[in-house]
Symmetry: C2
C-alpha cells in the first residue's frame, strides 16, 4: 500500500514510464521528459529505479546517421522480463514467451481436436509452456500469464461459458479455466483469461492496425464471428464480460436458424458454415476450407464468387449497423474475415456507404490486422504484463513475486 | 495548476466529497469517512474548505427516530449553488434552474415550432433563462449551463449535425449551438451541449432507474429513436460523438425506406411515424398522437392493438441485438417508448427471451425512467455541474468565475 501522496505519484509515474517504453520501444530521456510531462531529474530518478529492478536498461541508440554524441535511450529488458501468452483457438493451441516490449521470444503450437472443451486444452498448454521454460535463460523474470480463448468469457473469474462447439444450448457449466491453468502451470496466481477477439482487439489497438485510435471494432472470424470493441479507449465488456456478441446480432429476420436458437444471426450469413454451404460443401469446416473458396473466387469460379459476394454484402451490412452504434475510427477484419474482406472489399465498402450514416463513418478506416494471426497471442501477453505495468516495483520485486517458475 | 502532489490529492478529494453529497444528498461525516476511504480529520478539513467556499453546509439530520445526540450531516447548498439546464426537444423547449444536488428549483417551457432548426431555439431559451434569473436570489452562484438537444451532437464543439427534421440529406452546415447560446445568455464560457438521449441516460444512471449499474441502454423515442449507452460506467460517444444511433440499425432488410437513405431501420419499424401509419393516421405526429393509439389499444381496439404489438415485437427485436452487443444490466425505455413498452411489455419480453443470448441477458432489468420527462433536464444539469465537481474551489472561487450572471 502506498503510504503517502508522494509515493503514490511516484508509483504512478514508474508505471507510466515503463508502459511508454513497453509500447514504443527504446526512447530517449528527452522524449520521455516531453511525453510524460515530467522534468529531467524525475525521469532520471524513475529510470534509475526501474533499472535497479532489472526492468529497463540504458544504452546507445541504433545508428541515427546524425553527427555528435548520441543521447542515451531507455529500453525495456525484453529478453529478461517476460510473460507467457496462451491461446485456445478453434482448431489449435498456442503458447508463447513474450518479452516486455511485446516481442515473441519463443512459441509452440499444438493441434486442438475438433469439438473439445476448453478445459481439455489445459494439459497440452501446460506441456507447451514447460517445454519453453526448459529453454528459458535462468536469469529471466516471469511476471504473468494471459490466455485468449475463443468463445464467451466472463470477466470476473475467467470462466468460459459458451464456445463455438457448445451446440444449440450453448451454455456449459463453466469450468474455472484460469484456476485450472494456474494450477497446471504451478503459478501462485491464475492467468488472466480474455475472449480471443477482445485480446486481439487489445493487441491491434496497442501496437497494430488500430494504434492511436480510441474507438475500434475488431472483428474475428473462425467457426463463429466475434468482436473486440474499444469505445473511448476501453474495451466494451458488458456487465458479465459477455459483450461484443456481434455474431448473434440478427441481420436477416427471414434467414436460417442459428445454433443459438435465434434466426438470421450475422453468423448465419457470413460465418464459415454459411460460406461453405453456399458452395455446396456443407460438411467442411476450418480456415483452410474458407481459404480454398476465396482462392476459387479469385480464380473466377462463379459459384465461389457468388458465395464470397454474399458474405461481402452481409459483412458490409453488419459493419454498417455497428458503425452507426459505435462511430469508430477503424474496423479491423481478423481471422478468416481478413481474407473474405480482401477478396471483395469493393462490395463491403459499397454496402457500408449505402447503410452507415455519413457522420458515423466520416473518419472510418477499414483495415486488416498488422499482427496477423499473432494478434491473440500478443494481446494475451498484454494481459500478462498488466499487473507489472500498473505497479512495476511491487510486481518485479523478487521477494513479492506472485508467479513462481513452472516446475 | 496544482503545485504539488499533496495539493493535487487534496483537490481530487474535495471533488470526490462534493460529488458524493451532490449525488447522495445529506451525508454524515461517518459515512463520508467510510465511503471515501479517508480519515475523520481529513473529511473534517475538506468539509470546512467546501463550507468556506459556500458549496456545502453542516446541520442536524432529519428526524431519525433514534435517541441520543444526532451526528451532523454534510449537505450540498442546493438553493445557493445552481446551474442552468436547457433542452431542445422535438416539439418544445425547456429551461430549468437546478440546484447542486439535482433538485429542479425553477423551470419554464415554450413550444417549439415544428421543423425548425435547433439554432432557432436560442432566442426563446435565452428569454426563458433571463426570466428565471429575475426570480433568482441575489446571493446565488451560477456554476455552469448544460443543454440537451434531440438529434446528433458532435462532442468536441457541441455542433449539431443531424436532427430529426433535417430530411433525407440529414447533414446541416453545423451551427455552433453552444457558442451561440453562450453569447445569447451572456456567459463567458459556452454551455456544454449533449445529445438528448445521452444526457437522459446520464441522469437515469446518476439518480434514476439505472443508478448503481455500469452497463445501461437508455432508449428514447420521439420523432426518431435515440439511445444513450453507458458501457463500463462511461457514455459510449464514438469518435466524433455520433455513437448510439440505434434508430438507424437495420433490423428488417425488406422493410420500408428510411429518411437516412437506408431501408428497414429500427426507426421505420418502431418510430412514431410507423405506429401512426399502421393505424391509418399517416399525417399525424407527436407524443399525443402516440398516446392516443396506446390508449385505443388498451381499450381493445383491434387496429391499435395490432399496431402496438408490431412495435412491441420489433422493439424486443432491436433490444435483443443491443443486449447481445452490450450485455447490459438495465434497459430503460424513455420518451414515447415508455408508454409503448408498458402497453405490451409481454411481447417485448417474449421477443427478447427468444433472441438474446442467455448469458447476455442473465442479469438484465427492463425499466422505465424514474425521472420521467425530466431526465433530459436533470442530465443537462449534470453537464452544468461537471466542472465544479472536477475541481470545486477553482470553479466556485468568485475571483475566477467563468460564468457571469445573464444580463
Amino acid at each position: 500500500m502506498p503510504t503517502s501522496p508522494q509515493e503514490a505519484v511516484r508509483r504512478q509515474n514508474l508505471g507510466a514510464l515503463l508502459r511508454y517504453v513497453h509500447l514504443r520501444g527504446a526512447t530517449s530521456r528527452a522524449e520521455l521528459t516531453a511525453r510524460l510531462g515530467l522534468n529531467r531529474s524525475t525521469i532520471g530518478a524513475l529510470t534509475a529505479d526501474l533499472a535497479t529492478a532489472g526492468l529497463v536498461d540504458e544504452g546507445a541508440p541504433r545508428e541515427t546517421g546524425r553527427a555528435g554524441r548520441p543521447s542515451l535511450v531507455v529500453r525495456p529488458r525484453s529478453s529478461r522480463v517476460y510473460g507467457y501468452a496462451l491461446s485456445i483457438e478453434v482448431d489449435r493451441l498456442r503458447a508463447a514467451r513474450v518479452g516486455l516490449g511485446g516481442a515473441i521470444l519463443d512459441s509452440r503450437t499444438a493441434q486442438r481436436p475438433p469439438g473439445t472443451e476448453p478445459a481439455g486444452a489445459i494439459g497440452t498448454l501446460a506441456a507447451l509452456v514447460h517445454d519453453m521454460h526448459r529453454h528459458t535463460p535462468a536469469a529471466g523474470v516471469l511476471v504473468g500469464c494471459g490466455v485468449a480463448v475463443t468463445g464467451m468469457v466472463r470477466q470476473a473469474d475467467g470462466t468460459v461459458r459458451i464456445h463455438p462447439q457448445a451446440g444449440p444450448a450453448g451454455e456449459t457449466a463453466g469450468a474455472a479455466l484460469g484456476n485450472a491453468l494456474g494450477a497446471a502451470l504451478g503459478h501462485d496466481r491464475p492467468p488472466l483469461v480474455g475472449d480471443l477477439a477482445d485480446v486481439a482487439a487489445l493487441a491491434e489497438h496497442t501496437r497494430g492496425a488500430a494504434a492511436g485510435f480510441d474507438n475500434v471494432l475488431y472483428l474475428h472470424g473462425d467457426a463463429g464471428i466475434g468482436a473486440g470493441i474499444i469505445a473511448g479507449g476501453r474495451l466494451v465488456t458488458g456487465h458479465g464480460g459477455y459483450g461484443g456478441e456481434v455474431g448473434h446480432m440478427v441481420v436477416n429476420p427471414d434467414g436460417r436458424p442459428c445454433g443459438c436458437g435465434s434466426r438470421g444471426c450475422w453468423e448465419t450469413e457470413i460465418g464459415e458454415r454459411a460460406l461453405l454451404r453456399n458452395v455446396g460443401r456443407d460438411g467442411a469446416t476450418g480456415r483452410d476450407a474458407v481459404l480454398a473458396v476465396v482462392e476459387a473466387a479469385l480464380r473466377g469460379e462463379p459459384v465461389a464468387q457468388a458465395a464470397v459476394r454474399h458474405v461481402a454484402d452481409w459483412l458490409g451490412f453488419g459493419v454498417a449497423n455497428l458503425v452507426n452504434l459505435f462511430n469508430p475510427e477503424a474496423v479491423v477484419f481478423g481471422g478468416s474475415l481478413r481474407e473474405l474482406y480482401l477478396a471483395d472489399a469493393t462490395h463491403v465498402r459499397a454496402r457500408l456507404l449505402r447503410m452507415a450514416l455519413p457522420v458515423c463513418r466520416e473518419h472510418l478506416r477499414l483495415r486488416t490486422p498488422v499482427l496477423g494471426d499473432d494478434a491473440p497471442l500478443v494481446g494475451a501477453a498484454e494481459l500478462a504484463f498488466e499487473r507489472l505495468l500498473a505497479d512495476p516495483l511491487e510486481t518485479a520485486d523478487p521477494a513479492d513475486r506472485e508467479f513462481s517458475a513452472p516446475a
